[in-house]
């Protein structure tokens, strides 16, 4: 299975990709850029895990890929969220905030 970079909590990459695609369709590099930008350069997506994750999400039916043209007129594969993907994003976000709240409570506890 794909190895996760230590700076990403295991299993969160899928959620981040879905989030990055929330408003726009993007190609692979743009997704990596978007995550990096949204996290203010704290998170960097390793290309080695990006593509396996994309294929995995596509196989689950959460994102959809099609060929398109990039800003500088290059052929690129664009990914966009499907309806199922949106639902999945919402539920993962909800799940994530519950977990982090819990972890916060534990860590800040006396």
């Amino acid at each position: 299975m794909a190895k996760e970079k230590p700076d990403l909590v295991y299993g969160t990459l899928d959620m981040l990709i879905l989030k990055a695609l929330q408003h726009d369709a993007r190609h692979g590099l743009a997704i990596a850029d978007r995550i990096q930008q949204m996290s203010k350069d704290i998170l960097r997506v390793e290309q080695g895990s990006l593509y396996p994750a994309l294929y995995r999400l596509e196989a689950q039916g959460w994102i959809k890929a099609e060929w398109g043209l990039s800003d500088n007129n290059r052929k690129a594969r664009y990914y966009k969220l499907t309806a199922a993907g949106r639902k999945q994003l919402a539920s993962e976000q909800e799940h994530w905030s519950r977990i982090t709240k819990g972890i916060d409570l534990v860590l800040s506890g006396a």
């Binding site: 299975m1 294929y55 689950q60």
Partner: protein, 889 residues
């Protein structure tokens, strides 16, 4: 819709893998290009930018592989890939593949065939009969005895009327008649059956109809018959207008009302019936009188169908209640009589009882063969997986997962076993009725029918066995292969040691198991073979060589006793006048026949039976000169003479056993015994003989003159130097001369008659010999494969030894001793197993101990010889190892 399309596109993706891969490569190339452009924009030189982008992106191939693994259809994708690859690998080493498939085909085929026999004979013996799972055999028992008896017709009617847990009852009585065709008579077997017989069995006649309810009753009122398909085809040449035509059966004109479908042979397992008549015609076919209204006459065999959901226990309980009520209502006929039901496989009245133990052993043996075949293929796969270790190691090094490798080996195994299963099913299909071929019991005129039944259950079981065996033989090498030590394995091949390594332990175990199983089979075959030889050589107490037997069916021809007496008198005179005939006489029963000897309560003068035991004895009615003709010596006194006729005082000849039992220390000649209210004087003592089978215990037995106890239906016993065939022709002529309407049955030698009765042993020998031979062959292949492999693995060591001065002899010895050590260990375990298992063969053995040293010794020698041969070829190869080649890394 979109979901469906997505699914479809994935499915397409599976088969258009190249396009899929191309897309993936394209996407990644674009990604790298974009990164490069960005870096150029940041001020890097194009070359540096490209290198940096590639570095950042990482190993393209690894990412592709990882991405591919994310696909849901990956398993299917890989499976297709594995199947393709596996097929290619199998194709590339045809020797291995053919051998492996052959082994498995044999193993699966034999076990499926044996299962089809068991299914066809023991479990669902009647093709075309519906609901056989609810069908049971029904018979009577008498308290205080273990003997099974039939039912009486009135009891059968009462069971029908009074039971609530049974759907239906039928009764069926086997009988024979003689159909004359030209100048030869042919025995035809028929069934006297209840009128509901065909309806209850769900067998619809192919032509015409079955019996109507009213045709079952009324003394001799309904001369109608349903004939079998085979009789219709062979005897009536498939006449399409047969229904309505008539046929004389036992002198009564019967109307043929129907023809059964091809696959229906009746309900007597092992035989195929020619015709059926309703119970109303019983008297016509039974020389012992009218029985339809006699509650005491238990002459007919029953079957019953349970209602759905009723257990045998519940049904048995109801039968007990009914039997008790009948006992109260009819004490004089039913006291102490009960009914009992058993599953069809335990039917007491037919060939099943003889066959079931043989079939049980056969099933075990077939299972052994399958195990050996699996061990073999496992061995072959293992040997190959080790030969392919380099390939495996390489693939592991290139990043293939261990699970993936196991899966691939497993797929190869599955591919092998699927091909073999297909082959095995074909083999089973061919062999489904082959039991008849190895069954030597061919009574003239009686069709033996051992139906195999290859239905979905047999096939399902075969498939399960097949998949199970795949697990067994493919998984082990696969797991082993996945434990390859990368660095070690890549370094060099052929560095193993003869004699000791952990890896070869498993292979040794496999060979060991094979040798052990083969030993059990060969020893078992030896035992059965020896007991058959013993039985063949055992003296039955009469001469089998120059005695020929035949008979003329006077009862079926409607002869009354007076006419029959004259006929026999004239016929015997003519036979005695034939050239080469020394003597000829009559006997009601020939020895070793299926017939039942007369039996009667006895009273012995001067003998007090212990504890009011009821004395009874079996006897045969024989003509003058019987003992001289058949070759049973008279010990004291005389044998029967012409003068012992109706007008002379009744006499008897007893056997030695009877003489010592009832008159110990006294002179038996002159003593008197009472048989059926008739006092007889003992005039002679005959040597003991076998009367029914060679397996029987010696029992008291006696003979009475047929002239004083006449039966219309007798056998003709002829002592002659002529062949049975020659006598047959002469006999046919003489019979024809006396009565143009009569024809004798084919004359056979007594030897042939005796052989017929030892058919279970012969069957067991045939089956065990076939399977034992197969097992031996498979084990030899296994041993050869292991030794070849060991030698090829240890070329380095062997080369070293040669370099250090070992001669060809030493090398030969080394390799042979290794192989023989394995064999001897296997034989030791096999010997112990065989000692434990052969005890279960008790009832197939005749005067041979289950631990017979000769059979065991023979198995030992055969296996050692085969092992030596199997090891010798690889060993010779080992002596040719070139040290320079072998030591070069």
């Amino acid at each position: 819709m979109p979901r469906l399309r997505a699914w479809f596109s994935r499915l397409v993706g599976l088969f258009s893998k190249n396009r899929y891969n191309a897309e993936m490569a394209e996407e990644m190339r674009q990604h790298v290009d974009l990164l490069t452009e960005r870096k150029i924009a940041d001020g890097m030189s194009p070359t540096d930018a490209r290198n940096a982008a590639l570095r950042e992106f990482g190993g393209v191939e690894q990412i592709k592989e990882a991405a591919r693994e994310q696909r849901i259809w990956r398993w299917a994708d890989e499976f297709v890939q594995d199947v393709r690859f596996g097929a290619r690998m199998l194709w590339r080493s045809p020797g291995f593949s053919i051998l492996a498939i052959l082994c498995l085909t044999l193993g699966i085929g034999t076990s499926a065939a044996v299962m089809s026999w068991i299914e066809g004979i023991l479990i669902r013996p009647y093709p075309l009969v519906a609901h056989q799972d609810r069908m049971v055999a029904l018979f009577g028992t008498k308290q205080g005895t273990t003997e099974k008896e039939g039912l009486s017709y009135p009891d059968f009617r009462d069971l029908q009327k009074n039971s609530t847990l049974f759907e239906s009852f039928i009764v069926d009585r086997i009988m024979g008649t003689t159909l004359s065709i030209g100048d030869r008579a042919e025995r035809a077997s028929g069934g006297i059956v209840s009128a509901n017989y065909f309806d209850v069995l769900g067998v619809r006649p192919m032509l015409g109809r079955g019996f109507r309810p009213e045709e079952g009753e009324g003394r001799n009122a309904h001369p109608v018959t349903v004939i079998s398909y085979l009789t219709w085809r062979d005897r009536y040449k498939g006449d399409p207008d047969i229904v309505g035509k008539t046929q004389f059966l036992n002198g009564v004109q019967h109307t043929i009302i129907g023809v059964t479908p091809e696959k229906f042979h009746g309900t007597f397992i092992g035989y195929s019936f020619n015709f059926w008549v309703p119970t109303s015609m019983q008297e016509t076919f039974d020389s012992t009188g009218y029985k339809l209204e006699d509650r005491g006459a238990r002459w007919i065999e029953g079957y019953a169908f349970l209602k759905p959901g009723v257990t045998r226990q519940q049904a048995q309980a109801e039968l007990n209640t009914i039997a008790q009520r009948l006992e109260n209502d009819f004490p004089e006929t039913n006291r102490g009589h009960r009914f009992e039901i058993l599953p069809l496989s335990k039917t007491p009245f037919n060939a099943v009882a003889n066959l079931s133990s043989t079939l049980g052993i056969t099933a075990a043996v077939a299972f052994f063969v399958l195990l050996i075949a699996c061990a073999n293929v496992s061995n072959l796969l293992l040997a190959r997986s080790l030969l392919r270790r380099h390939e495996m190691t390489m693939r592991l090094a290139l990043g293939a997962g261990r699970r993936r490798l196991i899966k691939q080996l497993f797929t190869e195994g599955l591919l092998l076993s699927l091909i073999a299963a297909a082959g095995g099913i074909v083999v089973a299909y061919w062999c489904r009725n082959a039991l008849v071929l190895v069954a030597p019991a061919r009574t003239p005129g009686i069709t033996i029918d051992y139906p195999g039944h290859l239905d979905w259950r047999v096939l399902a079981l075969s498939v399960v066995v097949c998949i199970g065996s795949t697990m067994l033989f493919a998984l082990v090498p696969a797991i082993q292969a996945s434990h390859v030590d990368l660095s070690g394995a890549l370094k060099s091949e052929g560095s193993g040691m003869i004699g000791g390594s952990g890896r070869s332990r498993l292979r040794s175990v496999l060979v060991f198991v094979q040798v052990a199983l083969s030993f059990v089979l060969i020893a078992g075959t030896g035992l059965v073979l020896r007991s058959l030889v013993r039985m063949q050589n055992a003296d039955p107490g009469f001469s089998t060589r120059s005695v020929v037997v035949s008979s003329v069916d006077l009862f079926s021809a409607g002869y009354k006793p007076d006419r029959a007496k004259i006929f026999y008198e004239q016929l015997l005179e003519r036979i005695r006048a034939l050239p080469g005939v020394q003597s000829a006489t009559l006997a009601r029963l020939r020895p070793f026949s299926y017939g039942v000897y007369s039996s009667a309560p006895l009273e012995i003068e001067g003998y007090q039976p212990p504890r009011n035991e009821q004395l009874a004895g079996d006897y045969n009615e024989v003509g003058e000169g019987y003992f001289a003709t058949i070759g049973i010596p008279i010990v004291t006194g005389r044998e029967f003479a012409r003068t012992d006729d109706e007008n002379a005082p009744p006499v008897a000849v007893v056997n030695e056993m009877m003489a010592t039992k009832y008159w110990p220390g006294k002179e038996p000649v002159g003593q008197r015994l009472k048989v059926k209210d008739k006092w007889m004087e003992v005039v002679g003592v005959a040597k003991n003989a076998n009367y029914r089978t060679k397996l029987e215990q010696s029992t008291p037995f006696f003979y009475v003159p047929v002239r004083q106890n006449f039966f219309v239906q007798d056998n003709i016993i002829i002592r002659t130097e002529q062949s049975a065939a020659a006598i047959s022709n002469a006999l046919a002529r003489e019979v024809h001369a006396l009565d143009a309407n009569l024809a004798p049955l084919d004359a056979i030698s007594l030897q042939e008659q005796v052989d017929v009765m030892s058919y279970t042993q012969r069957l067991a020998v045939a089956l065990l010999a076939i399977f034992g031979g197969m097992a031996l062959f498979l084990a030899a292949i296994g041993l050869y494969a292991v030794m070849s492999y060991l030698v090829s693995q240890s070329t380095r060591e062997l080369g070293m030894r040669v370099a250090l001065g070992a001669g060809a002899r030493d090398i030969l010895q080394l390799v042979l001793s290794r192989g023989l050590r394995l064999t001897i260990a296997g034989i030791a375990i096999g010997g112990i197993t065989a000692l434990l298992l052969t005890r279960l063969m008790g009832n197939l053995l005749y005067k041979v101990s289950p631990r017979d040293p000769i059979a065991f010794g023979l198995a030992l020698i055969i296996l050692l010889a085969v092992a030596l041969l199997a090891c010798f070829l690889p060993a010779r190869r080992a002596t040719r190892v070139d040290p320079v080649q072998a030591l070069r890394v």
